[in-house]
């Protein structure tokens, strides 16, 4: 729009730029200030914690050295905990990708009879708040004798992250040309071979997107991690952080340092796969139109 390069057009364009820049400053302030404040607190020495300000007067990295060196009772098992978070998130990522890829193939390419039924079930799981199911879920995990194992948490994460992944993948898969099956048929490949060698490579972009989604989902999970895991060296990082809050005396600057470290992996992952994420995650919702 407005691509004419006449003088008034250019002036209009510059006016637009200025207006947009002003808006952008407001948006950036709104977006970044809480994050900036988190960083600021993490560099604040305990003595200055209660002096509000827009910058740190005596910045210190002490909170980070405590965290990295596990040199404080609150972060005694920091590396264990971040390791647990990582293990759970990576497994959730892999399993969600596998389950959703298989499912989406059936939903989008096989046109099988009970598609509606499966999609209804999926959607149901997608919209039922997982907090509704937490206690029954705990009981069930106990019945399966999986309490206190990472597997229980991974299974929970896969269950709740799979529907959206399935949705995104099947939507993407439907947009693929029908030639896949035909090519498979010509080669004499069975359904499984078609899936493995023809279908999978084609859905790589949304697969990366939903893998990231599953990772973030598991990385952020608090309630289920709390209920299913026990013991400081065995819990995930968000649970350990809530331990900070529920205790009687929280060293907030240290908490913010841990928060910052905790926020780094998702942010990095997000920026690495941003390209896939935006197109991938969005397609599901847009497809509805």
């Amino acid at each position: 729009m407005g691509d004419d390069m006449s003088a008034p057009g250019r002036r209009k364009r510059r006016g637009l730029q200025v207006g947009l820049s002003l808006l952008a400053i407001v948006i950036l302030g709104w977006t970044l200030f809480p994050v900036y404040y988190m960083l600021l607190l993490s560099f604040t020495p305990t003595d200055d914690l209660f002096q509000p300000g827009l910058y740190v007067e005596h910045p210190t990295v002490r909170n980070y050295t405590y965290t990295m060196g596990q040199d404080n009772p609150f972060v005694r098992y920091f590396w264990h905990q971040i390791g647990n978070s990582l293990v759970v998130a990576l497994w959730a990522m892999a399993l969600v990708a596998a389950v959703a890829a298989l499912g989406s193939f059936a939903m989008a390419r096989l046109h099988f009879r009970f598609r509606r039924f499966v999609s209804g079930l999926t959607l149901f799981t997608y919209v039922i708040p997982s907090s509704f199911l937490s206690i029954p879920f705990f009981k069930m995990m106990a019945d399966y004798d999986l309490i206190d194992t990472k597997l229980s948490l991974i299974l929970a994460m896969v269950t709740f992250a799979a529907p959206y992944a399935l949705w995104v993948l099947s939507d993407y898969a439907r947009s693929l040309p029908p030639e896949i099956e035909e090519a498979g048929a010509i080669d004499g490949a069975g359904t499984l071979a078609t899936f493995l060698y023809l279908y999978l490579p084609l859905i790589r972009p949304p697969l990366i997107a939903i893998g990231t989604y599953a990772f973030l989902y598991a990385w952020n999970e608090y309630l289920y991690a709390l209920l299913l895991l026990t013991g400081e060296p065995r819990v995930t990082l968000p649970v350990a952080m809530s331990n900070f809050l529920t205790t009687d005396n929280a060293p907030w600057n240290l908490l913010m340092a841990v928060s910052t470290v905790y926020a780094i992996p998702p942010v990095v992952l997000y920026y690495c796969f941003k390209r896939y994420l935006v197109s991938g995650l969005v397609s599901g919702a847009v497809a509805g139109t």
Partner: protein, 607 residues
């Protein structure tokens, strides 16, 4: 041999596994030992227990031994119809037949479930204690301890009823026993209201699952770990111990109880009012009355009431938890702030009448704000937590309610909040609580505080005084090593401006504080009269005249109320020192209980 001629010769034979076996020769040394043991045990067990020297015990069809001393429940008449079947304790005094007592007899007793078997080894002058019997093919005892002179041992004293009361799922008999011993051990060393839960999770194999409340400072967790290690070594069991912060732990315990997949032992600060009454009523907790009976002499009776709850199925009250800590409300205040406006910072000079006491902090706020509006513009006198999400609110409110002479539930568990006296007290308390807030002497955020926020407020020096049921405020001084040094610096500069005033009994002092040479002054707050060692004196009418004084004692009496939860009750290495401290102060307190003013007490020196 039978030089005293007391016993007939046929007494010297006993029936063991179908064989008649000749008993230990009865010389004077031996018999004296038996009498001494019997006397000691009578004193230890007290009424309701029968200590029988050389009485026959009908263990099974093929064995009717006559242990040198056996202890059974009841009175002599109870056994007119037949010999006792299951002694709670058997003692053999052994000189020449040591090997026999250690092997054949031990097997026999273990096979028949005698839980406590002692051999007085006269030769080596030691006492051998055999516990944790295992039945089955190779019957024997799992735990053997040898005690020499100077050491002491407490009988297990399991009542017969206890055996019937432990419905374990997949558990085997050894488990509840270990669990009981574990509970007892934690109490004995004085760690922290335990909840014993009957449905055993991973009970196959010798593994106890223990969920413990994370302590406020690492020393607490380390002490617990040490206890567990020692228990593991001495009882040859594996314990899966984990620490969780209280609010999260409550969530886990509740979920576990609802799902009926529970740990063997769970200790949470909130057990006494959020878990034990509700799930005791639901018949989901283990009846540990036998354990409490055994430990009763070491308890302040008031502490026990928190665990004595009604079971909705059996319609009977019983002990469904083992209280092992109590908590007192401490008052922390900044001395230098008071001095800054010329107010007395010496706890002895702070008024102790209810209204005067609270007005003192309001006065401090007014004076400080007036003196330096720029610095103290957002300062508040009283850091009273008033939010629904913090447990501190509950303690504060209930202490106030008791101070206004009201109660919501009576001794029998009846709700009495609608009685005129209690109604009035509740209205008064709410009014007082609300007015503190609305009159502007409590920080506005107090209605949104979590348990840690009054601490944060205090550290920020925007409140003059705050009540806090834990020692976390001073403990925060050494969470971060460097920060701690700075904190101490500040404290020294201000000459110990961080001030604690104790109400009621003592919490163990934090060793780290002393080592760093910090002056730690303990003083009494507005408090109730108490006898030595925290034993409440009998109620006197004039106790009720001063709400402030009354609060702590009333709290102790309340039982059902959660004010006193973290006072250490136990004995043992670490706790002895505390006991001495508490004892010393208790006497002082008792002496001066009616004076009604504050006395500064001596600094407790750590070794």
């Amino acid at each position: 041999m039978i030089d005293r001629g007391i016993f007939r010769p046929d007494d010297r034979l006993e029936l063991i596994d179908g064989q008649m076996v000749v008993k230990e020769p009865q010389d004077s040394d031996h018999f004296t030992a038996i009498l001494l043991v019997a006397d000691t045990l009578r004193a230890a067990f007290g009424p309701g227990w029968l200590v029988r020297p050389q009485g026959p015990v009908a263990l099974d069809d093929r064995s009717e031994p006559e242990p040198d001393v056996s202890v059974v429940q009841g009175s002599p008449r109870d056994y007119r119809e037949g010999h006792p079947v299951r002694p709670v304790l058997v003692v053999e005094v052994s000189k020449t037949r040591l090997a026999f007592d250690r092997a054949r007899k031990a097997t026999l007793y273990a096979r028949n479930g005698v839980e406590d078997y002692w051999i007085v080894n006269v030769l080596d002058r030691v006492l051998e204690v055999y516990r944790e019997p295992s039945r089955g093919g190779r019957a024997g005892y799992g735990s053997v301890r040898t005690l020499s002179a100077g050491e002491s041992v407490t009988p297990l004293r399991s009542r017969r009823s206890a055996r019937n009361a432990t419905p374990t799922r997949g558990g085997g008999r050894a488990m509840p026993q270990t669990r009981r011993q574990f509970l007892k051990t934690t109490l004995g060393v004085g760690a922290a209201g335990v909840l014993g839960v009957p449905d055993v999770t991973g009970a196959q194999g010798q593994k106890l699952v223990v969920w413990w409340n994370k302590g406020y400072y690492p020393e607490e967790d380390a002490a617990m770990q040490k206890i567990v290690k020692e228990f593991e070594a001495s009882h040859k069991v594996e314990i899966d111990l984990s620490f969780t912060a209280q609010e999260d732990l409550l969530k886990k315990i509740t979920a576990a109880l609802i799902a009926r997949r529970v740990p063997d032992v769970a200790f949470c600060f909130f057990n006494d009012w959020q878990v034990v009454p509700k799930f005791g009523w639901g018949d989901q907790l283990a009846d540990v009355s036998d354990l409490i009976q055994a430990l009763k002499p070491r308890y302040n009776a008031k502490m026990l009431e928190v665990a004595y709850v009604m079971n909705g199925r059996t319609k009977k009250r019983a002990y469904y938890g083992v209280p092992i800590e109590a908590q007192t409300m401490h008052i922390h205040y900044w001395r230098d702030m008071l001095r800054e406006v010329g107010m007395a910072d010496d706890p002895a000079k702070i008024p102790m009448k209810w209204d005067d006491y609270w007005n003192y902090w309001k006065k401090a706020q007014d004076a400080l704000r007036k003196k330096d509006p720029a610095k103290y513009g957002k300062l508040y006198g009283i850091g009273m937590t008033e939010s629904t999400r913090a447990t501190d609110t509950l303690y504060n409110f209930e202490m106030a309610l008791l101070s206004f002479n009201g109660e919501t539930v009576d001794k029998d568990g009846k709700v009495v909040a609608d009685q005129p006296r209690n109604r009035e007290a509740i209205v008064k308390t709410l009014k007082w609580f609300g007015e503190l807030f609305t009159s502007g002497y409590v920080p506005p955020d107090a209605t949104n505080w979590t348990d840690g926020d009054n601490n944060a407020g205090f550290h920020s020096r925007t409140i003059v005084m705050t009540p806090n049921p834990s020692q976390s405020i001073p403990a925060a001084q050494f969470f971060n090593k460097e920060d701690a040094r700075q904190g101490l610096h500040r404290v020294r500069r201000r000459e110990g401006s961080l001030q604690r005033v104790h109400q009621g009994g003592q919490r163990p002092l934090v060793p780290g504080l002393h080592r760093r040479g910090r002056r730690h002054i303990l003083a009494r707050g507005p408090q109730g009269p108490e006898g030595p060692e925290g034993q409440p004196r009998p109620r006197r009418d004039d106790d009720l005249s001063r709400p402030g004084e009354q609060s702590v004692r009333a709290l102790q009496e309340s039982g059902l109320l959660p004010g006193l939860r973290r006072e250490r009750l136990g004995q043992g290495d670490g706790a002895d020192r505390h006991r001495q401290v508490a004892g010393g102060q208790g006497r002082r307190r008792g002496d001066r209980a009616h004076e009604g003013d504050l006395r500064q007490l001596q600094v407790a020196q750590s070794p």
